[in-house]
Amino acid sequence: MASIINSIAFKNFFNYYGEFEDNTYELEEGINIIVADNGAGKSKFFNAFLWLFYDQVLDSDTKQKISIKNAGVKIISDKAKNETAIGDYVKCGVTLEYTSGTRYKYQVIKSFTATRLDEKVTDKNSWQFVMNELEVNRTELVLHKYKPVYDEVEKKQIIDNLIMPAFRKYSFLQGEEVDDIIDFSKKESIEEAVENLTDIKSYEQIHELLDEFKTKAFKDLQKQLKANNIQNERFDDAVAEKEKIEQKLEHEKEKLEQWNETLSVAEKEKNDLDKLYSNAEKRKELDDRLKPLRKKLRDKNEEFENFLDRINNRFFDGGFAWIAMGFENEVDKFRELNDRYIEKRYEKKALKNVEDNPNEYFHFLPENSPDSVSLKNMIEDQHCYVCNREAKEGTPEYSNLLKLKNRTKDKQSEKPFVNNDLKNFFGDLQINAQPFYNKFESIRDSIIKTKEKEVEIRDNIEKLKKQIKSIDDDRNSILIAGHDSEHSAREVISNYTGAVKRMENANNKINDIIIPSVNKNRKDLKAINDEIKSLNKSNDIPDGFNENYEVLSDLEEASQKAKERVFDGMISLLEEHANMHFKNLIKNNDLSGGILKFEKNLNGSINFNYLDSKGNSVYGSAEGFQRMKKFSVVMAIISANNSQYNYPLLADAPISAFGEGFTEGFFEAIGDVFPQSIVLVKELYKREDEMKINELGKRLLKDKKVRTMYVNHVTEDSEQIDLVTTQTKLK
């Protein structure tokens, strides 16, 4: 007899402004999808159920559940609050209709009235609250006419029947809470789940009784022996020994409990960190990639700064000589002036010579005067080629040639013919300045090349920056405990490994020391008990007492083992079902070939690990994947139940955490297990689209299993007081 929710409606509830009729969702059997972007009423849906079942809501600031009375003002739609005049009142409520089985349909309305006392809209003291009476109506499905239910107890029952309290945790899968709901690191959690599905409690009770009876029977036996005044030293000793062993056993059991506690705590820590670890690892990997890149960027920037600073050096650096640009004419002029200067000098010198030595005026050598080689020739040939006449040896012409030849040598150590001989001054300038005027053609090129180099360095810097940004963006999209530092990632990793170490340590202590000790004591106890039994036999007391003790003792052991068998059996069954669902969930994913394995710990808690095809445990994997594991187990708990699960599922499905491959599997799987599911998703929302949904959303819309689909909108760019959520029914 399944409960199917027919509709949910809100009145001035958070962003759902307006009457119930304005904010109604009509739902059907099967899968119902509500597409709600952030802030568009996703968590409010859960709050509605919290109110219906527990008269509570989740305070978004403190993340704690608070009673409706205390929440008061915050729940009411801001727009409605604003529109309420002082002295006037506003009503806020939620209502739900559901059908149970084939006969009845119920309507539950919870609401309150708030009267405005003064201008302050958000102050809770500015409003007076009155909780309205819980309204529950019932109608026959055949004749649709609601009649009020008056009995308070019955009203409560009707609400409870929607989803039985014990199963609510399996029906509400809200975001991160999924992980907490099934916290199998706590022994109680798995036992509770198993309890709901088996008679394990009965076995426990029976065993407890038997334990008690066994003790009683033993005491009776002892009394008998004492009463019959039988002196049996060995018996007394045996009993004393037994008591000692029992004490030791107690002691060891205590130690076991303590270590189990330590183990649980460490395990919980590991599990919490598990969520963060996979992110922390990834973050650290990205951090390690960023560090050298950032250094490279710093170095490049420095290089660039220096480069820019040095540009102006190129004006005066002989290697570049930019300052020389445009001085071509001046250099030519200098050369010209220099040539003229040299020429004039020669003239001057020659004139001086003429003045000083008029007789040797013919020694004035015009341009193209013979050098010493030609003079030598002329002397040898005894012919003057300058004047083109004979100069035979011995003649004055010949001796002049000789004098000339010798005189040119003398000229080197000649008398100064000027006050200031500046030939070298100008000559040196010309030689030294070469680096600057050699480069005229290339200066423009040099400037262009410099600009190119600058662009090149700039480009390199931009590339590096882009690289860094891309990795940085990746890094920032990975959540990690609200912190944003390398430090934090390292902390998580070190805490994680710390917790794993502690777990190993505790496990070792438990397995290597305490459990063996407990077992030994148990063995000793059994041995001593057996001895006592046999000692009893030889006593002269009525058989009944012996029998009584023996039977009860044996039953106690047997019932203990039976309990464990049943428990293990259920775990196997859960494992089987969980794998079934898990396979479905990951059907469209690349993760095939692995299985979920339920491992029972000695302290009674359960680990469920994913083993890959080689049988290796896969730890610390991605968030969506972890979610899928938990989902599988939740659904296993439901499907392993002998009778069909008859309650609706309300789930917040973070598809992005699942990944596309999981999403389709998810909808298929829940369709198999729950008669009705209401799934809230945000990732299907696409603002630009006409229907406001993306490709995946459109695919799901076409799916036969999806019976209804709503899209929530929040008015864009509104002030808080104007926020309104509207729904569009697509199917």
């Binding site: 004006f315 930019w322 200067y341």
Partner: protein, 159 residues
């Protein structure tokens, strides 16, 4: 004087600039320390030479104001020591011997007093054009006509 002595006479000279040009000098020459928002040269002489070129090419000859409104700085011989910069500079300057008012060959006949006068004229030539160039920079700067890029000076040379 020998050639070397003549050169030394020039190299020992400390050119002057107008005190009114101090702002623009500080803005565009960082002397190895400060950074302004504009592209800069390092030592003052770099800016000075640049300004001289600017003035020369634009024909902006602006004699210095009276001496007490001027200030000198490092001697020419120390301008980028161990390089041929100053030699090149002197080459340029001597190509303007006509404007400065002397003839190369005459130099060789001058006595020391006359040579010193020529050197003074040369220095005055440098100072006037540098002053003109600095004035130009200052005006452009004041009118916000300068595009501040690393190529500020290269671009100005092109205009």
């Amino acid at each position: 004087m020998t050639a070397q002595e003549f050169k030394n006479t020039i190299l020992l000279k400390r050119p002057r600039y107008a005190k009114s040009k101090i702002p623009v000098i500080e803005a565009f020459a960082n002397k190895g320390q400060s950074k302004s928002e504009y592209s800069q040269f390092g030592p003052i002489y770099e800016l000075y030479i640049y300004a001289f070129r600017l003035g020369l090419k634009k024909g902006l000859k602006l004699p210095l104001p009276p001496r007490n409104s001027t200030q000198d700085f490092i001697e020419i011989g120390k301008w980028k020591r161990d390089s041929s910069l100053v030699d090149f500079l002197l080459m340029i300057i001597f190509s303007y011997s006509e404007e400065i008012g002397f003839d190369w060959n005459d130099l060789e006949d001058f006595d020391d007093k006359e040579l010193n006068q020529v050197v003074s004229n040369i220095i005055e030539f440098i100072e006037s054009y540098a002053n003109g160039g600095l004035q130009y920079l200052q005006e452009e700067w004041g009118n916000d006509n300068l595009i501040n890029s690393s190529y500020l000076f290269a671009d100005l040379m092109n205009e």
